[in-house]
């Protein structure tokens, strides 16, 4: 009797193994492409500032500080989702947020900030998206946590939720500040 049953054990074991793989695979999101830039220095750039046309910004200006680089655009619908979260965060004053205005028009961008609030210390204007390519941007919004040495420590793909802030981003930023 036991010998008969062992014949079924192998297919059942294989089946359970395949179910395991399926369950793990279904949890993965192919839209989330992990960034090879985590742990590498944030690519340099030198761009005009959105609301101060005679000023320019480069990431090295933020050396010594832990900060967020948030890629946004006025045409981006998902950005509206995360924007209140960023505005709230900016009010707390714990983590500077800098914007990268990606493939946008100056007037549209200014109007959008006036309408929805401006959490950014400043926004650098990446009009043709070339800096976005350097940062591996493939969708908007995307956010980078950059440390005091200018190294990218985390990349958030998609809108930032309060849960994300609490569980990943803020703890990381606090740890990096020490």
């Amino acid at each position: 009797m036991v010998a008969r049953m062992t014949r079924f054990l192998l297919p059942i074991a294989v089946f359970i193994l395949l179910i395991g793989f399926l369950a793990a695979g279904l949890k993965l999101d192919p839209r989330e492409v992990p960034s090879p830039l985590v742990g590498k220095p944030a690519p340099a750039f030198d761009l005009p500032v959105l609301l101060q046309p005679d000023k320019r910004f480069a990431p090295r200006d933020m050396r010594g500080k832990v900060w967020l680089l948030n890629v946004w655009a006025s045409w981006c619908v998902s950005c509206r989702e995360e924007h209140p979260v960023l505005v709230e965060l900016s009010k707390k004053g714990v983590l500077p947020i800098l914007g990268l205005n990606y493939k946008d028009k100056g007037d549209d961008a200014r109007r959008w900030l006036a309408q929805f609030g401006n959490p950014y210390q400043l926004s650098a204007v990446d009009a043709d998206g070339r800096i976005g390519i350097d940062y591996g941007v493939y969708g908007v919004p995307e956010t980078y946590v950059i440390d005091g040495n200018g190294v990218i420590r985390y990349k958030q793909i998609g809108p930032i939720t309060p849960a994300m802030l609490e569980e990943k981003i803020l703890p990381l930023a606090m740890a990096l500040k020490k």
């Binding site: 492409v33 960034s35 090879p36």
Partner: protein, 127 residues
């Protein structure tokens, strides 16, 4: 240029190559390719530029690396395993004993219905 853009994946429409995708990011990246090709950079340099920024996923064909070994070799391993199981199952079947000979009662019943059976072959197998 066409060759290169067919080796890269569009990250927005992820099942299309950079050559085929209409997405805006694809247009931007094709422009990058054009500029780099015009600047005389080699295929390896340009592909390396993309991988540096977007990771291995941007290559349409996964590279053959230790981490992708299972991906490449897996189907062949499964095929070999299936062939092995098939062969050993067939071999096991052939080794099983013949159907046992009919009991005398059953033999008489068969002879009544079908007529007498011919004598067995030399090697002992009933016809």
């Amino acid at each position: 240029m066409r060759d290169l853009s067919e080796k890269l994946r569009c990250l927005v429409c992820q099942n299309q190559t950079l050559a085929d995708s209409p997405a805006e990011l694809a247009q931007d990246l094709r422009r990058q390719l054009r500029e780099q090709v015009a600047a005389g950079r080699s295929d390896e340099q340009i592909l390396g530029y993309m991988v540096q920024r977007y990771g291995d996923f941007v290559l349409y064909e996964p590279p053959f690396k230790p981490t992708t070994l299972l991906l490449w070799v897996g189907p062949f391993i499964l095929l070999a395993a299936a062939a092995f199981i098939l062969v050993s199952t067939l071999r096991r079947r052939r080794r099983q004993p013949e159907e046992p000979a009919l009991s005398p009662d059953d033999k008489r019943l068969v002879e009544r219905v079908l007529g007498p059976s011919p004598p067995p072959e030399r090697d002992g197998r009933a016809r």
